[in-house]
């Protein structure tokens, strides 16, 4: 390797080691983020507050209510005696759902007539509402098949079996996504200021009068951060495994290798920004704006890409996190190998290289 290149790498490491604030950002921020978001972003809903208006007041109706409570997802918060109480309970946020059992509930069941119960659901949060509705359907159908087994004609039942994430634990889905978002943000942030900082301090001028080539500067600046960002990746994957119990079913080595490819693309984004702006503040702002929102919204992290409007679906093709999400979820949840993941890997490699080439080209050897 050439001496100029090594000199730049060595210097970057010294900067990193001496800059306490950066070190804190590099180590603490990702950990804080994964713990805060990992706990806050939960799609599972538990402790749904339930109010019950039991007009039947029979052993059958109490049995149905117990079915709800026994799932552990519902908490009985209010025994309702009158229809008029229901709106007040919703408005005071005492309950999220109200179960209304008709007075002929018990008789109908005993005499084997069709009957129904009513579930009133607070739909102000559509996601929670949908989940409560689904839970209710599941519980009611399990209750009726339980009744059926106990007595009459057995209706056919569906026994769903869920693969790759049997408990449908949203942590298994969210945490790998968080890894992608956090790595993207940190990497872009790290490199976005490296060149601008030297423009601001005047040292860039000193480097430009030396025989150093743009390629040596750009690669000399990227390499140390690849290592750092990789360490970050290890830290947060470890946090996902030991802090959130996300099991890695695929190869850890494959995950490490493909993560490096992703980091390469992310760091290139930061570097590209760095060659285009003049101040560290602008660089950091840009890095955050360009990385965080698209990585969360357009990557398939939370919202399925297939249900987006067509324009956004096209836009999502250039979001690197989208590709890494396929990779990391594939390896962690499905045990995917390179055979299934090479297209995503190839895209990240191409994107990183294009951005790096653009940075080298953009990086002028003259001041202007």
């Amino acid at each position: 390797m050439n001496i100029r290149f090594i000199a730049i790498i060595k210097k970057e490491f010294l900067h990193i080691a001496r800059d306490f604030r950066s070190l804190v950002i590099i180590i603490v921020l990702p950990l804080a983020m994964i713990f805060i978001y990992g706990h806050a972003v939960k799609l599972d809903i538990s402790e749904i507050t339930l109010g019950v208006l039991d007009r039947s007041n029979s052993s059958e109706s109490r049995e149905l209510v117990n079915h709800f409570i026994n799932t552990g997802d519902f908490v009985l918060n209010a025994a309702i005696h009158d229809n008029d109480e229901i709106p007040r309970l919703f408005k005071n946020r005492k309950i999220k759902a109200a179960l209304v059992i008709p007075s002929d509930f018990s008789e109908s069941l005993v005499s084997n007539r069709t009957t129904g119960v009513q579930m009133i659901i607070d739909g102000s949060n559509s996601n929670t509402g949908t989940v409560i509705k689904n839970y209710t359907n599941m519980i009611v159908s399990s209750y009726s098949s339980y009744r059926a087994i106990a007595g009459m004609a057995t209706p056919f039942t569906v026994e769903p079996r869920i693969w790759y994430n049997p408990d449908l634990d949203s942590a298994n889905f969210i945490i790998p996504g968080l890894v992608a978002v956090i790595l993207m943000m940190i990497s872009a942030l790290l490199t976005s200021i490296t060149i601008v900082r030297e423009k601001e301090s005047g040292t860039m001028e000193q480097i430009l009068v030396s025989p150093v080539r743009p390629l040596e500067i750009i690669f000399g600046k990227v390499l140390p951060y690849v290592l750092l960002a990789f360490i970050d990746g290890v830290i947060i994957v470890a946090a996902a495994r030991f802090g959130f119990g996300v099991e890695i079913s695929g190869s850890i080595i494959m995950l490490a290798l493909l993560s490096i490819v992703y980091l390469y693309a992310c760091l290139s984004i930061g570097l590209f920004i760095s060659t285009r702006v003049q101040t560290q503040q602008v660089a950091m702002m840009l890095a955050l704006v360009i990385t965080i929102l698209p990585s969360i919204i357009l990557s398939g992290f939370m919202f399925p890409i297939r249900s987006m409007p067509i324009a956004l679906r096209y836009l999502s093709h250039i979001v690197p996190a989208k590709y890494f999400l396929v990779i990391i979820r594939g390896i962690i949840l499905k045990g995917n190998g390179f055979a299934q993941l090479w297209p995503q890997t190839l895209f990240l490699l191409i994107l990183g290289t294009l951005l790096l080439a653009a940075s080298v080209k953009r990086f002028k050897l003259r001041l202007e």
Binding site: R4, S201, E205, Q206, V209, P211, R366, E368
Partner: protein, 244 residues
């Protein structure tokens, strides 16, 4: 190209928008000469140096440094020049020694060369005991010395110094000029801008710049004689006054 010429500029011009920072200047600097560029702030000194170092593209005119063309051979020029900018531009968060090693590295010196150069620089600047000091903790005079040291590590043929002693105490300034004289006597060409008139006396030849133009070039003694002045300050003031 005669080998005795280090820098040659003819009709060199740089405009920023409608502002003519450097306006059609022509001059020659000989090898081993200490060539001073005098002028008020904004006279065009820094712009001239930046064009010669390959940091700025001239608007028009020709120039060569050490025989290399500034348009087509800027890579060659970079290997043959040392540059110290107006703004202190070493890494504040690196130690003295680390700064020297870095600059040795980017000029492509071998590790043994860097080691021996570091020893030499530290000894010459009397900074050997400060080798592990963080650069930001040193007084400005020492920093400027170190910046000069880093600029001459690769033994450049031509050394460009842009206001190297601005804000430096008198003792450090004298040390600084001693080193510059020594370099010149060993054949290094020194191209220096300053607005200290006492420093102007150290130069072999001076060029006075005013509003982008060179108004006169001569030796300090000849200038004083011509303007009938006792000090360079008087020469400078009467030259400027005669222009306006």
């Amino acid at each position: 190209m005669a080998p005795s010429i280090a820098v040659k500029a003819s009709g060199l011009t740089k405009t920023f928008g409608s502002f003519k920072a450097v306006d059609d200047i022509t001059f020659t600097v000989h090898k081993g000469e200490i060539f001073g560029f005098l002028g008020a702030n904004g006279a065009g000194k820094t712009t001239t140096i930046r064009m010669l170092c390959g940091l700025l593209m001239p608007t028009s005119g020709e120039a060569t440094v050490n025989g290399f063309d500034i348009y087509s051979q800027s890579e060659k020029i970079k290997e043959n020049i040392g540059y110290m900018s107006q703004k202190f531009s070493l890494y504040q968060d690196l130690t003295v020694e680390e700064n020297i090693h870095f600059y040795g590295g980017i000029y492509g010196l071998s590790i043994t060369e860097i080691e021996s150069k570091t020893r030499w620089i530290l000894k010459t600047l009397r900074l050997t005991s400060q080798r592990s000091t963080m650069t930001k903790d040193m007084p400005l005079g020492w920093k400027q010395g170190l910046a000069l040291g880093c600029a001459i590590l690769h033994e450049p043929a031509v050394l460009f110094l842009d206001e190297p002693t601005a804000g430096v105490d008198p003792i450090s300034r004298r040390e600084f000029w001693k080193l510059i004289n020594e370099l010149a006597s060993r054949g290094t060409t020194i191209f220096v801008t300053t607005h200290f008139m006492d420093e102007a006396e150290f130069c072999h030849r001076l060029s006075m710049m005013h509003q982008g133009k060179i108004i006169t070039i001569d030796s300090p003694r000849a200038l004083k004689k011509k303007m009938n002045a006792s000090s360079m300050e008087d020469v400078f003031v009467s030259l400027i006054e005669s222009r306006s």
